[in-house]
């Protein structure tokens, strides 16, 4: 298996510096070349400025030093099908979503099963900043400065039994708040949204429960009040608005696997060598960049996570 490390390819090798920085500029150029522009007019772009929060600095050992995607892009371009299938639907339809008060039901093979108030569940956890790459299965990617705590910390608090081999998560079901859950004909997905991890994946130090981005509370469209972040896996593994955590000895069937098992597996590790049946995963478009860049094995986190999958046939366990 070819494992490319993040450090092998610096961003300057991939994208010319001048193209890297301003997508409003290049989109103007691109549309001009495409012949889409009005003849001979140069219209100044009313480019909105980047989010108010200051530029986050890479500090921790898991932080990428790549330029974070603007707050405005992270919060306006989302896949969150409960709010609609368009990329702008989540931002538009989540304005009245209520992330507070919030309860999380913990069940299954653990010593602390109960229905918790979110505040009690995460009481005392120190919030950390983590700047992670996020790679969507649709072949685009972002760099997101998350705030949260390691999933491991939460799992330890819940004291899983030795028999627990997997942990399963579910998103809220509330047709009053989620327009797509009100639909009964030609449903987009079966609700609730379900995700799962092997116990060793869940307790890996990279696995994060996010409660914020850019130093602010997690916006509703990004999965408030708490969501999973697994930077070496495709974005759909990062389940949002979690209301249920269950410890089990059986491998959970996650939503997209159930929807199309030949296209989406349980593991969903970012892997440029295993294509999605309908499109290649070899390259990706970083939001804000013009040209595609190569996708890295485990999204550039191979050094940290590849031992989790040692000896596994990743073509079979995709």
């Amino acid at each position: 298996m070819l494992i490319q490390r993040a450090s092998d390819i610096s961003s300057s090798e991939i994208t010319p510096e001048n193209l890297y920085h301003n997508r409003r500029e290049w989109i103007k150029t691109a549309s001009a070349i495409l012949g889409l522009t009005a003849v001979g007019t140069i219209i100044p772009a009313c480019a909105p400025t980047v989010g108010a929060a200051g530029e986050p600095q890479a500090k921790g050992k898991y932080d990428t030093t790549e330029k974070p995607t603007p707050f405005e892009d992270i919060t306006s371009y989302n896949n969150y099908y409960e709010f609609g299938t368009g990329k702008d639907d989540p931002a538009r339809n989540s304005k009245n979503f209520k992330p507070k008060p919030w309860t999380v039901k913990v069940e299954g093979m653990c010593k602390k099963p109960a229905t918790y108030n979110l505040d009690d569940l995460i009481k005392g956890f120190a919030t950390e900043d983590r700047i992670y790459r996020m790679r969507c299965v649709e072949a685009w990617s972002m760099v997101i400065p998350w705030a949260g705590f390691p999933l491991k910390t939460l799992i330890e608090r819940l004291e899983p039994l030795p028999s627990a081999k997997f942990v399963e998560f579910k998103t809220l079901v509330d047709p009053n708040q989620y327009p797509e859950q009100r639909r009964s004909f030609l449903k987009v997905l079966d609700w609730p949204y379900v995700e799962g991890l092997r116990m060793d994946e869940a307790t890996h130090p990279l696995a994060l429960i996010a409660t914020g981005i850019y130093g602010k509370p997690l916006p509703n469209q990004n999965g408030a009040p708490l969501r999973l972040v697994l930077p070496w896996k495709y974005g759909f593994k990062g389940i949002k608005a979690i209301v249920n955590i269950r410890f089990t000895d059986k491998q959970p069937v996650n939503t997209w696997q159930q929807q199309a098992s030949q296209e989406y597996g349980f593991y969903a590790n970012v892997n440029p060598n295993v294509d999605h049946p309908r499109w290649s995963q070899a390259r990706e478009r970083r939001i804000g960049e013009f040209f595609k860049r190569p996708t890295l094995m485990f999204n550039g986190y191979a050094d940290q996570v590849s031992e989790l999958y040692a000896g596994m046939d990743l073509r079979r366990y995709y």
Partner: protein
């Protein structure tokens, strides 16, 4: 005074209307109103408009039959060529912005993925139609042969709808709506053709 011919005005008006989608998307792009992933927006926009123009082109014949306004035929070639133009822009977004002219990769993609194959098929089938759209070509081929060639648009439409179906991750409502519309437009032709044949046969049977 010569009788005022309203088609002289309508044709440029329809032409300008057909430019509408392009003007709109370039405006959105220029003012930075596209999403965080503008290339995907442009790809999807040009794709869906190719399909829409194709449906409008295919709707002209049924509309003529239903409304009796035969002059609608005057717009068919123009709208058909706009379909090809939209299709070309869509194809370019893939070849240029997505694959960056890596023809080897493109070829692999076509062989490997029905999603790409169906889109390529839909576009390729439009090329002979665009080429033979001139009066000269109609004369060269002769009416019935020309018409036979231009029936390729039915297959192009079907391939286009299949391509759209493959594109969606799970929300297939829109592709299904297009499939339904296409079936109606093609079904109307089949039904009309059968009825014409039945009408032609009737006097003959009466003689016997």
């Amino acid at each position: 005074m010569r009788k005022f011919n309203r088609w002289w005005i309508l044709k440029p008006a329809v032409f300008l209307a057909c430019l509408g989608p392009m003007v709109w998307i370039s405006n959105q792009a220029l003012y930075g109103r596209l999403s965080a992933n503008p290339i995907k927006d442009i790809t999807e926009f040009t794709g869906i408009w190719t399909l829409r123009f194709l449906m409008i082109t295919l709707a002209i014949t049924p509309l003529r039959r239903i409304t009796g306004v035969s002059s609608l035929i005057r717009f068919r070639r123009m709208i058909g060529l706009f379909t090809f133009f939209q299709g070309f822009l869509h194809w370019m977004t893939y070849v240029w912005l997505d694959q960056f002219f890596m023809w080897g990769e493109i070829l692999k993609d076509i062989i490997k993925r029905p999603f790409i194959l169906s889109g390529m098929t839909a576009f390729t089938l439009m090329i002979p139609l665009a080429v033979t759209s001139t009066r000269k070509w109609i004369a060269r081929l002769g009416g019935s042969r020309w018409q036979a060639v231009h029936r390729l648009i039915y297959f192009s439409g079907a391939a286009g709808v299949i391509h759209y179906y493959f594109f969606e991750k799970s929300d297939v409502r829109n592709p299904l709506a297009y499939a339904l519309l296409l079936s109606f437009l093609l079904g109307f032709r089949a039904w009309h053709g059968m009825r014409q044949r039945a009408l032609k046969l009737k006097p003959a049977t009466r003689i016997m």
